[in-house]
Symmetry: C2
Subunit: 644 residues, 2 copies
């Protein structure tokens, strides 16, 4: 077994310095000549000078007549003058060349007593009025664009009118991307998803990297997947370095596992500058040089792969093209909770951001580097420097935006209990033409009420059963949101029950069986409505939670519970029918419960809140919810309580 340790880990700044100081841009980049019409978005590799003047002849700047100005001197209201066609003037339109014998244009609106052959003037013209003179816009030989100018649409107009029909630009950098891993399979090799056998993973990092390369103005050159073989990786890397690619990305094998060959391969045929960068995600990054070309061993986890690309390859591609990565807009946000972070590592924390009242609030998403969906769902990234131990909810921090700022204005932040119909809601809002994003955070029903109190969300999703009154949510609102005017709208009624494996192999009958010692349960976190329901039922049945195996194993969503059942991590868990159905599991109904949206009354009339209500009252929403099974949308969107 061959196992390596990281070389001395480098800080992100050190790593970037080491990497970029070794790259000789002039050695690896190239220039090409493109026609003016194909030059959009390209960057000039040298200054561009005008070849022609523009306009290239005198022309009319207005519609009207061309004439000699001196023939009009002395003309006034009281001393008008009649001019004759040909002899005195010619009709002329904007842009037409000025006949040689004339030196001025009078606009049509200033003419009197007009017929085809004659016009009457009541004021004089002066020479060169309303004439666009030769070279007025561009003079031959003048500088049009400096070196390293990125060509915009109107710049193309400048080029063509200055007679510059082709232009020298930096060549788009070709980037070799080598996916490695014996467990990987290309989706192009599959015939539909059925072709996927047991333990094979669909390779997708190369497609993401290719898109990132394109976005940075480069051209991706993606190799076939290379199995975990040192020889084959070395062979492919050599081929890539000898190709026209200016840089090579090997994904992945950059960590320190026994089959992580990337570092050996780069060291064998080139030089390793850095192995391991103190960033998270993105730690297992290798930076090296082979034959003067930068080679990056880029981590396997999707989010790590992307963040590593953004720190090293993206700036390189822009440098090669003489321009800058477009800066991400940053805004100040309030974290919705304290977020600790590892000292000594620069963390890139994905967050969901929405505007609540006057503040932007940021809810941290999961940190798993393998979870591409966290990046998809994130509206922003908070960078926590290596020398900080985290951020607190007591002060604002800076977040880099991954979406347009206006999308934050149009974001509805729903915090609280998790329900699948929130996803449906998010989509139906768009289907109805509203331009609204739904940002949802799963912190349980009680967490949602607390978020409302802290004003870090627009609405809370909640299904808290008052076991004394049998009523949902109201007593909790009275307790936790005292003094806040609240409107309670029903989202859905839904079936809670035991999620069990297909076919119910352990013959579970209901909550009463949770005492059985051959049964492992998976629980929801304290404060969740589902947990309250469970505890209530256990109490009714006189079951001591200490006797329930797995009672301490807590998950945060219905889906996570269902996944645990599917995977065999648990034999059952309490959750909603839709979660069981999504994973084709069986279900034992326990309770039809009420899931509400709790909204401060003072924002009810905001158009984005009305859009949410309008949507959940719509036929389409109800139909889709019904189709999921286990839901009753009969009261969806009904205001059933207003608390002053």
């Amino acid at each position: 077994m061959k196992r390596q340790v990281y070389l001395e880990m480098k800080s992100l700044e050190q790593a970037r310095d080491l990497f970029f100081s070794r790259i000789n841009l002039e050695q690896i980049r190239a220039v090409e000549c493109v026609s003016a019409e194909d030059s959009l978005g390209r960057t000039t590799s040298e200054a561009v000078f005008a070849k022609l003047s523009a306009p290239s002849f005198h022309s009319a700047a207005m519609d009207g007549i061309a004439l000699r100005a001196e023939r009009t001197y002395g003309t006034t209201e009281r001393n008008p003058r009649v001019l004759s066609l040909e002899e005195d003037f010619a009709w002329i339109n904007t842009g037409q060349p000025l006949p040689e014998q004339f030196d001025a244009v009078i606009m049509v609106e200033k003419l009197h007593e007009v017929d085809e052959e004659h016009v009457e003037l009541r004021s004089p013209a002066h020479p060169w009025q309303n004439v666009r003179k030769v070279g007025e816009d561009i003079v031959a030989t003048q500088l049009l664009f400096p070196k390293n100018h990125c060509i915009r649409p109107y710049d193309i107009g400048g080029l063509v009118s200055a007679g510059v029909f082709s232009v020298k630009v930096w060549k788009r950098p070709l980037v070799a991307i080598i996916p490695t891993g014996s467990e990987l399979v290309s989706y192009n090799a599959l015939s539909g998803t059925e072709g996927l056998s047991g333990n094979r993973l669909i390779e997708y990092n190369s497609h993401v990297l290719a898109a990132l390369v394109r976005e940075a103005g480069g051209i991706p050159l993606v190799y076939d997947i290379v199995p975990d073989s040192e020889e084959q990786i070395a062979l492919t890397l050599k081929k890539a370095v000898e190709s026209e690619a200016v840089t090579v990305i090997i994904n992945a094998g950059s960590s320190s596992g026994s089959k992580d060959y990337t570092v050996h391969v780069i060291r064998d045929i080139g030089e390793v500058l850095v192995h391991g960068v103190a960033m998270m995600p993105g730690k297992p990054t290798i930076l090296g040089m082979v034959n003067g070309k930068p080679v990056v061993g880029n981590p396997g986890y999707a989010v790590s792969s992307i963040l590593s690309f953004e720190q090293f390859i993206k700036p390189l591609l822009h440098m090669l093209q003489g321009n800058h990565p477009p800066g991400r807009k940053t805004i100040k946000v309030w974290p919705t909770r304290d977020i600790p972070s590892k000292l000594g590592t620069e963390e890139f924390l994905r967050v969901s951001i929405g505007r609540v009242g006057e503040r932007y609030v940021a809810t941290p998403l999961e940190r798993a580097a393998g979870s591409i969906t966290t990046l998809i769902r994130a509206e922003g990234i908070i960078r926590i420097p290596a020398l900080m131990e985290g951020v607190t909810q007591r002060s604002q921090v800076e977040a880099e935006l991954l979406v347009d700022e206006h999308e934050l204005e149009d974001t509805v932040v729903i915090i609280g209990s998790h329900d699948i119909t929130i996803d449906i809601l998010a989509d139906e809002i768009r289907q109805r033409g509203y331009d609204i994003r739904v940002s949802s955070g799963n912190v349980g029903s009680l967490g949602g009420l607390i978020a409302l109190k802290k004003e870090t969300c627009h609405m809370a999703g909640s299904h808290l059963l008052d076991t004394e009154t049998g009523e949902y949510n109201i007593s909790y609102i009275n307790k936790y949101l005292k003094g806040v005017g609240i409107s309670v709208f029903n989202l859905v009624l839904r079936d809670q029950g035991l999620i069990i494996p297909k076919g119910n192999p352990k013959g579970i009958r209901g909550i009463e069986d949770l005492e059985r010692q051959d049964i492992t349960f998976v629980n929801r976190q304290a404060g969740s409505g589902t947990r309250i329901l469970l505890d209530f039922r256990l109490r009714q049945l006189g079951i001591d939670p200490a006797h329930v195996r797995g009672y301490d194993h807590e998950e945060y969503t219905h889906m996570a519970v269902a996944v645990d059942v599917l995977s065999g991590a648990a034999d059952c868990g309490l959750g909603i029918f839709a979660a069981a159905r999504a994973l084709d599991l069986d279900f034992i109904p326990v309770e039809r419960e009420q899931y509400d949206l709790i909204i401060p009354s003072e924002i009810i009339n905001q158009s984005k809140i009305q859009s949410v209500l309008d949507t959940i009252r719509s036929k389409n929403f109800r139909n889709r919810v019904t189709a999921l099974g286990g839901y009753d949308p009969g009261n969806s969107g009904n205001l059933w309580k207003e608390i002053v």
Copy 2:
């Protein structure tokens, strides 16, 4: 002669309402299916749901060993346990499938006394630790993206890992572009610039429009240039409407001249909604519908054409693709002077913006709608609403940025006298690798000193001769910049002289001939160094300015003077040799004068100022300036006076 008047002119808002309310998006847009890897930047036309769960099997989240957690219960520092390969554990790397018999992973760093066959543990594992469970990231059937979601690089990762290998997106809208005008010639039809005959104009609006269409996600379909013939324009428009294009742009003929057929053609085969929009530039815009497809008659002047496109076609293209035009960033700027604007017309004023001290200052550029270079040079646009008569230098106004904000930070604002070497400087700075833009405003030498006093520029370019002392600039600085610490650096010495037509047809010998009544002079504006020089020489020669023909005809730059001489608007003008040479005119030297950069001493040490000084001291700059002729860069960059 057929001449039409504008239909009742509409305000921009009315015009937009009329236009967009008539368009039925669903009727003209279409959906297509693209593979995941080709979906970058496309917008979903329906919600996308996961087909597979991800991960699709349990896998290791760390490098280490896989084992059954219950075999480790009770393990402590004092009660370590030795495990054997195969029997108790398996080596595993990140991402590898978890063997069926195991349920946990211990990371390699936590192992003790390791050899290939055995490991020692000193703490227990719990079930499912360091395991990525099935569906942890994505659960089959979950919503991945709502309708109208624009796909980013990492979204492609989400698609592929969820088994969604192709996705339905809005088709890129095809836009027909019909260039019209008998005077136009396509650059593709020319063999170099020599092929251009007398009064032909090189057509470029179609290339600019095509690039704008591409930038908005559409596909341009550019027709051959159509001459000014009603029949031919109608024929081409019919063809375009019958094509797959979703909208048609006719450029131009949208004004009210006798050959402006566009409005007739659209009315004949369809409907004209608007003719004339109260915007400037962009007034002669026609909005119409033919067979349910929007048709825009777009103005001929380059800047008008672009602004009209941005108001009507650009939003349409984004609507068709279910997304929004990326918003332009706006900043607050201080105009460097009062700018009047026509009441009743919404003006789009191009401005040059730079940061001077803590303020962004905006200098208006020329308003000519035909001057594409004003848009190229502009850093921003100030929109002056129809109901305002202009903006004043006493209050901030909003400007939309055409460049990245960071470019403003890196802009050096040079206001004052015009000199061609400022262009060379702008380019050489880039050549030397500095990322600095030069924004220059031509207001004459005295205007430059006043701008310095008002703190609206970083440096002033000046060549003001003190006719008493024979010294340049110093006495003026003492007078106009009293109390400001100033450093004066030489930019160049340069030859001023009379610019005359090639061959000197009127036999002009020098300033003394300006009295001749057969000679028309073109003057520079009051306050310019050149004007001061002229007035000084006239005084020396005892010539009364009232006797100089054309003394009242003022231009603002050396080039404009040279253009007047080239065009025959004047027989001579005072200006620099380089301007004469650029237009291949003759030159009678009058004076070798000193052109300086006047810089407040307190900013001298700013890195961008140092970059300017470094550049003008460089060999390349001096060589290029020398090559222009009429310049002596012997003192370039020398500090020759510091005024406290």
